[in-house]
């Protein structure tokens, strides 16, 4: 068994970099941030013990520069790298480049990343490991005619998916042969353009699926266990918006069965570290393998809130060769946790991404409330990176309590200067079907009208107009003795 690293470089940015550094600090490990110029004033750079600037053709490109990150490890003496999620987290070549430089990659072996990173190969391995898979083409379809032929065998509607895809990119639904032809061309072209790999496969499309995923932990000594499931059915365009642990649709028997298949897959691919097996849950209770994410997930906080296990700390210990010191029977699920992703986007106008300078930032705190964020007041929200600026989560004894706490926390999340979706998220949580646990991946589309912003009541509008008038220097400009906003403190009870 080797010792924990003394210094870890976090090859990421924003909230997840901050979150990883918090755990490193708690473990007595120094942290190194890497950053692009745009993030120089960001929270991750402040949180780190040291920071190294990266350069790139684009801001995102800076965080993808393997050579520069290896060099940053050398110059700072970091002996391990945590990749977070996105960027290089599922890049096997990155893990290998680190290994070649004798730097520990805090993640799974490159072989597991490769086999699970390919949708077709991962589905084949899942089926071999006994994980149920959706009926579909066993391999990439050769051409549009084969796509239609297989679709007709499976029965419409079908889903066409890019082999190398993710996040909904290169995914198309087809209801008949004509749509299948068009979907094939578009999915293939999009995949080739985005991933340099135009391979597409076809599978049965499930109408009202739930997205349920199992968190797995595996050490290097053969212990593999699961931390229960998360349901992430509240999605928009295949991007998760609200996640919870546990799932309202899963009973203990199904949890056991799903967990066992996820563990079996992890064992089959020689998995080590934290990973997530994503599945589709049909209304009849049957579940099918979707993909395995070989990294920390965005929504890991809900599992941490319910199990009390710090998944990042486990990743660091596992990478250092330490064994998991507990077994499946020791994993307890306590209460309910729900997370909402705060995006800089205008939910009232087609969800277009928003930019702007964050003039005022206030995050909520309180019983059961957890906020993961990477922003500082005065920061410019740009279009250079993913629009997610924070994750607000709440834990409660029951699902209803978690919902109530999260709604309250979102109402107290103040991000002035850009447009965010917090009010929309609160409306989703307030929807009676969400409260009833009647969630599925089309939920947001199905309830779009009910989730639209209601017009403000007259008295609310009057208050807001009065506040704007009193705050604006416009009205003061015409007064002989202007009274700046800050001087109003004198009129205190």
């Amino acid at each position: 068994m080797s010792a924990l690293p003394e210094k870890v470089l976090v090859a990421n940015r924003g909230e997840i970099a901050v979150r990883i550094m918090r755990t490193l600090r708690r473990m007595g490990i120094a942290s190194v941030a890497v950053y692009h110029r745009e993030d120089a004033g960001g929270r991750a750079v402040r949180e780190a013990d040291e920071a190294v600037e990266l350069f790139g053709d684009t801001p995102v490109g800076a965080y993808l520069d393997i050579e520069a990150i290896v060099e940053a490890c050398r110059s700072t003496g970091a002996t391990a790298v945590h990749p977070g999620f996105g960027f290089l987290s599922e890049n096997a070549a990155f893990a290998e480049a680190l290994a070649a430089a004798e730097i520990t990659f805090i993640g799974p072996p490159p072989s597991a990343m490769r086999s699970m990173g390919d949708k077709i190969e991962s589905k084949r391995l899942a089926a071999q490991a006994g994980v149920p898979t959706l009926p579909g083409s066993p391999d990439a379809v050769a051409d549009v005619d084969e796509a239609v032929q297989i679709a007709e065998q499976i029965g419409f509607p079908v889903l066409l998916k890019a082999s190398a895809g993710g996040g909904g990119k290169g995914m198309r639904i087809a209801n008949d042969a004509a749509e299948c032809r068009e979907a094939f061309e578009r999915a293939s072209a999009e995949a080739a353009a985005s991933f340099g790999d135009g391979r597409v496969f076809v599978e049965r499309f499930i109408g009202r699926p739930r997205h349920v995923e199992v968190q797995v932990l595996a050490d290097a000594h053969g212990t593999v266990l699961h931390l229960g499931e998360r349901e992430c059915s509240i999605q928009r365009r295949y991007q998760k918006v609200i996640e919870e642990c546990p799932s309202p649709a899963i009973d203990p028997e199904t949890r056991e069965a799903m967990g066992a298949t996820a563990v079996a897959l992890a064992v089959a691919v020689g998995y080590v570290s934290a990973g997530t097996v994503e599945m589709i849950l049909d209304e009849d209770g049957s579940f099918y393998f979707l993909e395995m994410n070989t990294r920390l997930q965005v929504e890991h906080p809900v599992t941490e809130l319910v199990t009390g296990i710090d998944i990042v700390a486990e990743q660091v210990r596992i990478a250092a060769g330490e064994p998991l010191d507990y077994g499946q029977a020791d994993v307890r699920m306590d209460g309910w946790a729900i997370e909402a992703r705060v995006y800089a986007e205008d939910a009232d106008h087609g969800f277009v991404p928003a930019i702007g300078r964050l003039g005022l930032v206030r995050f909520p705190a309180g019983d059961g409330v957890r906020v993961d964020h990477g922003v500082v007041e005065g920061q410019q929200v740009s279009a250079s990176f993913d629009p997610m600026i924070a994750k607000v989560a709440a834990h409660g004894a029951t699902r209803a309590e978690a919902i109530a706490r999260l709604r309250d926390a979102l109402r107290r999340t103040v991000l002035l200067g850009t447009v965010t979706n917090t009010a929309y998220l609160e409306r989703v949580l307030a929807h009676p079907d969400f409260g009833a646990g009647a969630t599925h991946t089309n939920f947001l589309a199905q309830h779009a009208d009910a989730l639209a912003a209601p017009p403000p009541p007259e008295d609310v509008e009057r208050c807001l107009v009065a506040a704007a008038a009193l705050a604006s220097p416009r009205f003061d400009a015409r007064l002989a003795a202007p009274e700046p906003l800050a001087s109003m403190g004198g009129w205190r009870n």
Binding site: A354, V414, E426, V465, S472, P473, L485, M488
Partner: protein
């Protein structure tokens, strides 16, 4: 003379303020309200007649951003005199709804287009969207090329103004 204040895309309200020490009279659409705004906690507190609401405010020029009643709101202050001097926005120009990159340009200057026809395809935050013509017309200018990046509100394609257009 009052200013106009608009909440989001709602109707404009004629508003005036008369201050008396820390208190003020805010006149909204001809009705007077006793009001005060003062720091409270880490934000402010608005008193309007007999109710008091906590809120947070950022003033950015004539845009006032307020977090109150559990969400954020954008209010715009307009001086009716200034507005009468300047021109309003036109639907001759298709502007970028969000920052992004140009994926495809479907039209060239001189092309006749009909309402709803795709002018350019843009990509923003990993999503592609089509920018379409809001009316029938003739393309006067294309401001962007494939792979060009742009900010929100940037002009993408201009149609020839209606009065000078040839059929």
């Amino acid at each position: 003379m009052a200013f106009e204040i608009t909440l989001g895309e709602g109707n404009a309200h004629a508003v005036d303020v008369a201050r008396h020490g820390g208190r003020a009279t805010v006149t909204i659409d001809g009705r007077d309200h006793h009001a005060a705004l003062r720091p409270a906690g880490d934000g402010y507190e608005l008193t309007l007649e007999d109710r008091t609401e906590p809120l947070w405010i950022v003033v950015d020029g004539d845009q006032v951003l307020v977090h109150a009643f559990g969400r954020s709101w954008a209010l715009a202050i307009v001086d009716p005199v200034e507005r009468s001097r300047g021109g309003g926005p036109s639907d001759d120009v298709a502007a970028a709804p969000m920052p992004g990159t140009v994926i495809r340009v479907d039209v060239a200057p001189g092309a006749a287009v009909s309402a709803g026809q795709v002018l350019v395809v843009i990509e923003s935050m990993k999503m592609q969207s089509e920018i379409t013509a809001v009316r029938d017309g003739v393309v006067e200018q294309v401001f962007v090329a494939v792979d060009a990046t742009f900010d929100r509100g940037a002009p993408l394609v201009a149609l020839a103004p209606l009065d000078t257009e040839e059929e």
